[in-house]
């Protein structure tokens, strides 16, 4: 990715209804509050990632969205339907991959999917075609007629994704979809998810612990801590909330002699909004500009372009360093704990 890109948060047109929306959703297990007053909105055509420590309440939230467990208070709407009242309609439209998904070992992969199709009221050739399609999509078509007990863990996970897709859902809810899948397989699965979103306008809610994956595939992210959503939005929005208030720009310059290096340092440091300049350590790499406040980053980028032209500096790259989700996540969790 190159270029000059504004990182303004995506503004949603107000007329798009969220496919998943919760208001004050709360679940108690005895004295333990598993999910606390959750307000969540997932829109059609987006992938929403749920992040959080073990026991943060991700699975509990998902179960409530599917009507598999009753909320203590608050309400959930999936496709405008209340999962507690109309669980069957919700379940017909939502494909769900549970964490630690299991299959009937004595049946083949295809037979397992056929059972799911029947439970969704799908039979006959249409169902068989759909089953074959999803098997190809997850890359299991060559093993589809082997017993599931001969499958590896990752193959079961893939079958789980196929199982969630077989009913042609409008919403996909995936609880840790990529655990146990090999790195190349993960990339395939994530690509598949993106394709589904782009081609069919699906909405996907997924929970995961793998931050890199979440960052690479999710449009928006919600960070959970002890049953509460501590942050929600795009990576940029989260960075603005949980970052230290600064942004980083990477500037690549082709500099021939020391005089030019000194000049570059002076020019870059003199720009308004630039707090400090970090020269490349080996003299070859890119310069880093620390911009404060973070919101000034786009303006600084323009200034760098202008300054480079004015001072005859040969610019090779210019891009904002998006903060890694790891840092955001850590600071979100720590801030919550504090």
């Amino acid at each position: 990715m190159t270029g000059v890109e504004t990182s303004t948060p995506q503004k949603r047109s107000t007329n798009v209804e969220p496919v998943i929306r919760t208001r004050g959703l709360t679940k108690h297990y005895g004295s333990l509050t598993a999910v606390d007053n959750l307000d969540l909105a997932v829109y059609p055509g987006e992938i929403f990632g749920l992040l959080g420590q073990n026991g943060a309440g991700k699975t509990t939230t998902i179960l409530m969205l599917l009507g598999l467990t009753e909320p203590t208070s608050g309400e959930a709407r999936v496709m405008g339907l209340d999962p507690a009242r109309e669980p069957r309609l919700v379940k017909r439209r939502v494909g769900y991959l549970p964490d630690a998904v299991g299959f009937y070992g004595g049946l083949t992969g295809r037979q397992n999917l056929r059972y799911t199709a029947r439970l969704n009221g799908l039979r006959g050739e249409g169902a068989e075609g759909a089953i074959q399609d999803v098997l190809v999509q997850v890359g299991l078509d060559d093993r589809a007629d082997d017993l599931v007990e001969t499958y590896s863990r990752g193959m079961r996970q893939r079958l789980g994704i196929a199982d969630a897709l077989v009913k042609s859902p409008d919403v996909l809810i995936l609880d840790e979809p990529t655990t146990a899948i090999d790195p190349l397989g993960v990339a395939e699965i994530l690509d598949l998810l993106r394709t589904l979103v782009h081609e069919r306008g699906l909405a996907i809610l997924l929970s995961s612990h793998l931050l890199t994956q979440v960052q690479s595939v999710c449009d928006r992210i919600g960070i959970f801590a002890a049953g509460r959503l501590v942050g929600q939005g795009t990576v940029d929005e989260l960075a603005a909330t949980f970052g230290d208030g600064s942004a980083t720009l990477e500037v690549g310059l082709e500099l021939v002699d020391d005089a030019q290096v000194a000049r570059a340092s002076e020019v870059l440091g003199g720009l308004a909004g630039v707090e400090s300049v970090v020269p490349p350590t080996d003299g070859q790499g890119a310069w880093r500009l620390i911009v404060r406040p973070a919101a000034a980053e786009a303006g600084v980028r323009q200034e760098v372009l202008v300054a480079a032209v004015e001072h005859g500096l040969h610019l090779t790259t210019l891009r904002p360093i998006v903060p890694s989700l790891d840092d955001i996540y850590r600071s979100a969790i720590l801030r919550r704990a504090a």
Partner: protein, 356 residues
């Protein structure tokens, strides 16, 4: 392209307007989906479970065990019937004797007794891992996330169990009857056929009690092996030690030697009441009455008058409806037992958390 190799900041290509955004619950679409929901989810579950049962090892094993339990006593019964045949032409219910006669030396060696012993195992075997098996395999959340009613799962499993049991029972009985007709040349009277059908139905009911009990265990006990062990223990207790225990309790309650006849009768009645708390006793008594038209009473007389009446009674044969009338309370008790077990399983399943 691997996820790690991908540059961290992903281009946000998201178009404002998606191709075909998922419609949010428009009523026509909702109505269409409502129609496409499976009408009887329990049947889908039952069909799958039934198929699983038929291909399972336990089905073959139980078919063999029940077959043996019927074949061994049948061998002795056939011997006796053959020996008695010359005098017995015209005797009542020769055909049913196939089921009620056995070895002269070992009274327990009769088809009806043996089936009574093996039947509970049949029920337990097809239910003890019904729900906890799905739990431990991790298939339960997936199953419950499909658009069926939650009770479809437990109803379907119960129905599948009943269907397999019916299949096993009917095939064994048909085999015995066929053997009797072909090898011994006994042709059943219509009355006998009806009695036999009644007996099969009651046996079916008795197995259903155990099936429901097994289902209850499979819901309440998290590990299938533990559930099987508990079920087996209860079966052992009832079939082997049941008589022993009731005798012991009866002994404790026994009146003194010089008690009046009324006290004695009262004490016997009490003992009988205790044994009838056991489903095995209930089934045994029904079984005897249905297979023997000459059995005219199942209860201890309550008064001296009744006792004398019974002793003076001319031996008669009961018609089927008279026999049924005699054991009707027993049948009702068995039905109640099955209903209680199934209701227990049903209610606890409906209230259980999806996650173990």
């Amino acid at each position: 392209m691997s996820a790690e190799a991908r540059p961290k900041p992903r281009p946000r290509l998201k178009p404002r307007v998606r191709p075909a955004p998922a419609p949010v619950a428009p009523s026509a679409e909702t109505a269409r989906l409502r129609d496409s929901l499976p009408r009887a989810g329990w049947r889908v579950v039952a069909a799958k479970e039934f198929g699983d049962h038929l291909l399972s090892v336990r089905f073959i094993v139980l078919l063999l065990v029940l077959g043996l339990a019927a074949a061994i006593p049948l061998y002795f019964a056939a011997d006796q019937i053959r020996a008695a045949a010359p005098q017995a032409s015209g005797a009542a219910a020769v055909f049913l004797a196939l089921f009620t006669l056995g070895s002269e030396d070992i009274s327990i060696l009769r088809v009806d007794t043996f089936v009574g012993i093996v039947a509970p195992l049949l029920g337990l075997a097809f239910a003890f891992d019904a729900v906890n098996g799905e739990r431990s395999e991790g298939t339960l959340p997936r199953l419950l996330a499909q658009p069926i009613h939650r009770d479809d799962v437990i109803n379907g499993k119960f129905a599948a169990g009943m269907a397999v049991i019916g299949l096993v029972l009917v095939s064994v009985v048909v085999l015995i009857a066929g053997f009797g007709m072909l090898r011994l040349g006994i042709v059943p009277h219509p009355q006998e056929v009806l009695r036999l059908a009644g007996w099969v139905a009651v046996t079916f009911l008795y197995v259903a009690v155990w099936l429901a009990f097994g289902l209850l265990l499979s819901v309440l006990v998290r590990r299938a092996a533990t559930a099987a062990l508990i079920g087996f223990g209860v079966w052992l207790l009832i079939t082997i030690f049941g008589e022993l225990i009731t005798t012991l309790i009866g002994g404790l309650l026994a009146p003194a030697a010089d008690a009046s006849v009324d006290t004695l009768l009262g004490s016997y009645q009490l003992q009988q009441l205790i044994t009838r708390l056991l489903p095995s006793t209930l089934y045994g008594e029904i079984s005897v009455v249905l297979l023997n038209p000459s059995v005219t009473q199942v209860s201890t007389p309550a008064t001296i008058g009744q006792l004398q009446q019974a002793q003076q009674q001319i031996p008669t044969l009961l018609s089927l409806d008279q026999s049924l009338l005699l054991v009707w309370p027993h049948v009702v008790a068995l039905v109640a037992l099955a209903v209680v077990c199934f209701a227990g399983a049903y209610v606890s399943f409906m209230r259980q958390e999806v996650r173990a």
